[in-house]
Symmetry: C2
Subunit: 363 residues, 2 copies
């Protein structure tokens, strides 16, 4: 965790600010400046050493709509870190009014995933970050080179890339861009939720109903897949995914109603028959904030998602009080979220602005 | 200035962080909590007393794309406070891939404007904020009631509105929403630029070239209109605009090339003949960050904007070194920008998500 990232809970907003700042100053050593060459431990990134300057660069890139072909979509548009790390939509809105076909997964705690995307087709955060950049219905760039070429025309970015990667003239590359974005994303971690405090010994951190929910997800069998500290399966080597069949019990009304078997899942990435309807197990952390649910965003509420999962995966019909208890437990996995200072985005030189045709309306 | 807003310059990014945090702790009294009922001095807002909770609410609303009809456009989309307070585009992108016809003005220091919009058709920040919300090509809401109805379905916002406005069940109104947004916008002030430091006695704050530019904008006549601390005209009572004719000298190549006389300006709001081609004088503060230029965003660079203004307003042909000097001076009016902590946006209850049709692409 970095000193410019402070923890606050979604329910306290401004109120905790002065305490957390003070807490940071007391608890943390002096911050490594972005001008320093201090590097993070090699173990927390995929390859080339990256430091605070790369994280700052990655934060700017993450929030910058100029990463998209028409200058309207940033990483944060679909993975909004002001909320649950997704966009609250069944499927995301991309450039030129287009839409995807799978629901944006949360970016919170994505650093802990051993494979990325719903179908696990990316082995690292760096590889994942490339996907939306060149997806025609998301950010719409022809290739990574087009992104790099656009960033090279922004002098402030050239300076930031050089500082982050200690390179000369070729610092602004697509690979460096995704490395920086991934470095920032690795700071997007939530720990210290009510559940974590409960496990740490504070037995009042979870309500009796949530504690019952915790017991139920074990006894019903949910944690057979949703295991581990992220409730997203066991910790596996980076690039090795924990996949499960979904839906397991296809012959019920939920599957038809919510089109849960229409998408072939991991098969779309591998074209291997055994991967049909196999999916990466998504995390439960912050799940209360990421409605709507499932890979197609077809289920609107967490209550219904819990009911559907019990039926289509375990062939169990939950009683309403069981559903409520599980939802209460899942709510205990929300946050706390590190407070983030908005980046300053370097100015576009006038000659390089993205031009569009004028329509109606007036400022 | 509020304790959660710290100053940093665009050229120092992460590096100044620890110093500014420390500076805040040393220099500022204990922060007014968002749970307190402390109010700002009545003089800084338009009417109803608003306090820190209203500013926090306004910040959340400012960044929240759910204020738009399709959930894709926030205030910050076009008035990006991570940059120069505008969007770096000739005209802005609105909902459903639509575009406006005038260039988004900066939100930085908008609190100092006595009228808003290019044509001065709004007398207050509150009134201005209503415009994009219900403009069909911007945020696309049918009316303010539609916005309030959407926000009412988000329990976190209901709580924030009640806290900010100390109301009961009817706290979530369109009027309160724009009051909160305006309260946040009144914190978006830049003072302490190189120019301010120069005026304050630090004669080395501006380069010799910028000092020459400062002299030139006086001797050429630019500051006849661009006067006052914001270089946007004299301080006038709220609701009274400082308008000037543009272009004054219509018979030159610039006017034709950049279509500078196509838009009738304030006339479009008043339909009075004397208001044809009259425009609110825009601020010079942060102008180096808000390319492209003029009401239609037709001029890409600040150099060209300076040349064009001298010709079409003063009928003067600047020498290149004069243009460069003025541009250097204008660059001395950039920032510093208060550091802003990202708001936490309250979660949308699952049943109220904005639904869209699915297209191609996959997460």
């Amino acid at each position: 965790m970095w000193p410019h990232i402070r923890h606050l809970t979604s329910c306290h907003l401004g109120a905790v600010f002065s305490f957390t700042v003070l807490g940071v100053l007391i608890a943390r050593p002096a911050v490594a400046q972005s001008t320093s060459r201090a590097v993070l431990p090699a173990s927390i990134h995929g390859g080339e050493a990256v430091g605070p300057a790369a994280i700052e660069l990655g934060k700017a890139l993450f929030f910058d709509p100029r990463l998209s072909a028409d200058g309207t979509i940033s990483c944060n548009s679909c993975h909004n870190v002001m909320g649950g790390g997704a966009d609250g939509r069944p499927v995301s809105a991309g450039v030129r009014g287009q839409h995807g076909q799978r629901s944006a997964p949360t970016v919170w705690n994505a650093a802990d995933l051993s494979v990325l995307f719903w179908d696990g087709r990316a082995a690292t955060l760096e590889e994942q970050a490339k996907g939306p950049l060149v997806n025609p219905v998301e950010m719409g760039n022809a290739d990574l080179g087009a992104v790099a070429a656009r960033l090279k025309r922004i002098p402030g970015y050239v300076a930031m890339f050089r500082q982050a990667f200690l390179h000369g003239g070729d610092a602004v590359t697509g690979d460096h861009a995704v490395q920086a974005i991934a470095a920032f994303e690795r700071t997007l971690v939530t720990r210290g939720s009510a559940y974590d405090r409960y496990v740490g010994g504070d037995k009042r951190a979870l309500s009796p109903e949530a504690q019952r929910g915790l017991a139920l997800v074990g006894s019903l069998g949910c944690t057979g897949c949703h295991s581990g500290s992220n409730f997203a399966g066991p910790k596996l080597p980076q690039g090795t995914g924990f996949y499960q069949r979904f839906p397991t019990y296809k012959d019920n009304a939920h599957v038809a109603k919510y089109h849960l078997a229409d998408d072939l899942g991991r098969y779309t990435a591998t074209k291997r028959d055994e991967d049909k309807h196999m999916w990466r197990v998504p995390t439960w952390r912050n799940v209360a904030l990421t409605a709507p649910y499932f890979h197609n965003g077809a289920v609107a509420t967490l209550e219904e998602a819990v009911r559907v999962m019990a039926k289509v995966q375990l062939n169990k019909d939950l009683k309403d009080d069981e559903t409520r208890a599980i939802v209460a437990f899942l709510g205990g996995l929300t946050g706390p979220f590190p407070a983030l200072t908005l980046p300053r985005l370097p100015a576009t030189p006038g000659a390089s602005v993205i031009r569009v045709s004028a329509g109606m309306g007036a400022h």
